[in-house]
Symmetry: C2
Subunit: 538 residues, 2 copies
Amino acid sequence: MAAERDAEGFTAARPLLTDLYQATMALGYWRAGRARDAAEFELFFRRCPFGGGFALAAGLRDCVRFLRAFRLQDADVQFLASVLPPDTDPAFFEHLRALDCSGVTVRALPEGSLAFPGVPLLQVSGPLLLVQLLETPLLCLVSYASLVATNAARLRLIAGPDKRLLEMGLRRAQGPDGGLTASTYSYLGGFDSSSNTLAGQLRGVPVAGTLAHSFVTSFLGSEVPPDPMLAPAAGEGPRVDLTVSVKLWLERVCAHLGLEVQEPHPGERAAFVAYALAFPQAFQGLLDSYSVRRSGLPNFLAVALALGELGYRAVGVRLDSGDLLQQSKEIRGVFRTTAAQFQVPWLESLSIAVSNNIDEEELARLAQEGSEVNLIGIGTSLVTCPQQPSLGCVYKLVSVGGQPRMKLTEDPEKQTLPGSKAAFRLLGSDGSLLLDLLQLAEEPPPQAGQELRVWPRGAQEPCTVKPAQVEPLLRLWLQEGQLCEQLPSLAECRAFVQRSLSCLSPAHRRLQSPELYQVALSEKLQALVDSLSAGGSP
Amino acid sequence: MAAERDAEGFTAARPLLTDLYQATMALGYWRAGRARDAAEFELFFRRCPFGGGFALAAGLRDCVRFLRAFRLQDADVQFLASVLPPDTDPAFFEHLRALDCSGVTVRALPEGSLAFPGVPLLQVSGPLLLVQLLETPLLCLVSYASLVATNAARLRLIAGPDKRLLEMGLRRAQGPDGGLTASTYSYLGGFDSSSNTLAGQLRGVPVAGTLAHSFVTSFLGSEVPPDPMLAPAAGEGPRVDLTVSVKLWLERVCAHLGLEVQEPHPGERAAFVAYALAFPQAFQGLLDSYSVRRSGLPNFLAVALALGELGYRAVGVRLDSGDLLQQSKEIRGVFRTTAAQFQVPWLESLSIAVSNNIDEEELARLAQEGSEVNLIGIGTSLVTCPQQPSLGCVYKLVSVGGQPRMKLTEDPEKQTLPGSKAAFRLLGSDGSLLLDLLQLAEEPPPQAGQELRVWPRGAQEPCTVKPAQVEPLLRLWLQEGQLCEQLPSLAECRAFVQRSLSCLSPAHRRLQSPELYQVALSEKLQALVDSLSAGGSP
């Protein structure tokens, strides 16, 4: 399989984006004659993030892109040679040079699936040396994508379906690609749009944005626009000097609001006029560069009303400081009285957008009943996931040469589940989720309507369950390096997330202290765990 | 200036890696005839991260690379056209197409400098439209780099100069570039090496790594190495079957340790032998795949002693679970008794490396007096900066058309300091840092030995200070797009960090509740702030 250039014009992850120990182990396997032993690894997490009861699986698209393009370049091999022992057999480097993923098979949860502890997000099988080498890049591509998608889904659950959510965390991300990943997977998790233009260009994420304080403060008010004339929205009728019209409206607005006409800042107004001339169909005002009530709001209203006379509807306002909930109520109140005063009913329902370090708690406040906020921009607390900035995914060997393998450390948290596995989601007759079942790949799948005995993880006793429906969880995406089915689009995955979340019971879905969703082992898998744990020779 | 391909073969950040509002504002400026107005922005942070008293400035190299390569491609402009109003004047897009940084001048703190709140890390001047467009990518490139460098420097301060620190957070980073940035700037901040191979290849960071549990658990013990023979280190003498020699040594080690010879896991031993055959000069054992005391340690000792007979010195051991401090003491004890028993004194001082979710608190424990730990690997808590995952840098307009600008929001935290500025570090006669002084660019620099009156930020009164030395803080790196001086190498910057930190008083340097280092304004700058704050027309 030839290395492919992806549609982005660059390969997001490169083969050397891996921990050096993957390369030293590669030499170890090779020296032991085991480079081509058939091996299987599973990528999973041990605990749901943020103290919640679910996570979303994400990053599969990036993994598939990485695997299909995987090929060490001469410079890569030369670099490895420079850090490995000088007397390393040159045949090892020939082996590296010839590596590609044509022998690699990947099963995975579809992008945007609900994921639970211990259930593989990815199963990767192929030659031992190679699939070991893939560990770090796959972890890197899946962990953060899944974490930020889950974070976005939580914020969407808090906001409810009607508030519009904008991701705006690019400047707070871990460098360029961190920002791109954050924007992509925040959209997947349920955000409506992103400020990140590159995410729009490369990933098709809807992008949004208007103006910042610097635009407002860059105007003194003495600037003269080269062309202040604006034609009516309908195209008919004479062009109007917007600066003059705004001045007249400012007097009427100030009279209505009980302000002196000198109070609103002239530079801010000039900035609004400039923006309105560039975006008459999409005018938005950022109100808090000077004073919301005494400057931003009257200046905005003057421009919006002047535009309104020409048949243009302003989009709304944005606030970036202070008590956002309280101010939005006051602003809505002013919109209502001004709409009545000047008989412009559309003004009542203009959008109020807010931002400023919004976290889950503040979002809940902004989304409460009676809130007048329409759009919420979230940056830092979305992309940095401050409640838990790492998902802690692991990638563990489960079989080699057809033999199940298990890590039997003295730390029970870190023990692994051995063997090549299948995973199923068992559902009740109402479509509600009962539990996820892990079993050995060779076992027959559970049957709908048939009772079966399973071992919930961590339990001392088995229990019985009778599913009304059984869904296989892991799909085959790459078989011996060949793509088996097209990955759904990002928008399709995003819709799938919301459908999946709606199947989760409220007790499992709630964000604090949820009831823990059960993951269970088949009796055969449990027996294998017991025998390998007890016996000396796994 | 033609777009340059950087040495990494791809441009880390691309022009569209920016918030959409930068592009909408660009259109606003253009429509207002202000695209080419001379403007200056400052990039700074408002509070030191992690509750500490200092930060390190980092990311300049990435910024310079980005700026020198900055050029919108046709596809970029087409994408912007698709999200801007359909009737946008085509001349605007021509303007974008022609943009490059040949009119941009950048002053900045040298890479690795101590940085304090409000002191610009970067001063960027040039045409208003362009330098506005640069906001998001510059913030993205500086913020996380500075944050993780600061985090690394804190961990180095805790560890002391002698412990070796390995960054191993690639799998926990925000995607590929997050990992690369983390590895690069952790090294800058004082780490010794990274597991990230790409950081070695592209940035020259020393890389390190040996083996993981999967390597160990992939061996059953029944494997037969294709070539178990090893020549002596000196090259003289017959080759020896390492498997046979290890078996003999295992019996002696088990007898010494009071273990049955069947207890140590044969698969683990086979893995150690395989690794030793590949790396006889650099053998290291990962001890906790099964049981440290009953398996990992005796297996390691058998292999290390067999290698020792051939003249090879093992490097040491690694632990990845359990009480790392306590285990390392026990292991050192076993090393000592074993060294004495078999008269191999080198065994006493083998390196003990540890990892497993180490944070500042655990690091302090591991670095305490009497600790036998030599090397500490830190991943998650280094790269994700969980104490504060974002530095919160901002990029604010300070002058346009030669006029100082100031954001006069009602939130005093968010007010900015107006005007084009110079910054100086004032030092005492012993080289200790007194304060950082911000003044207007046109003011004469402070003179060593001369008393001056300054306004500490937030103070109601001025104070006087008499510096014994005065250092200008901001250097000119890019003048009208031309590189003015070569950036020092990463290793040079890393050394500079340690020199800089040593000048900071212990009270300012301490990691919890430090004394806050003062940043002060000149009387002229303070007067400008007062007049703009009071007056209606900044």
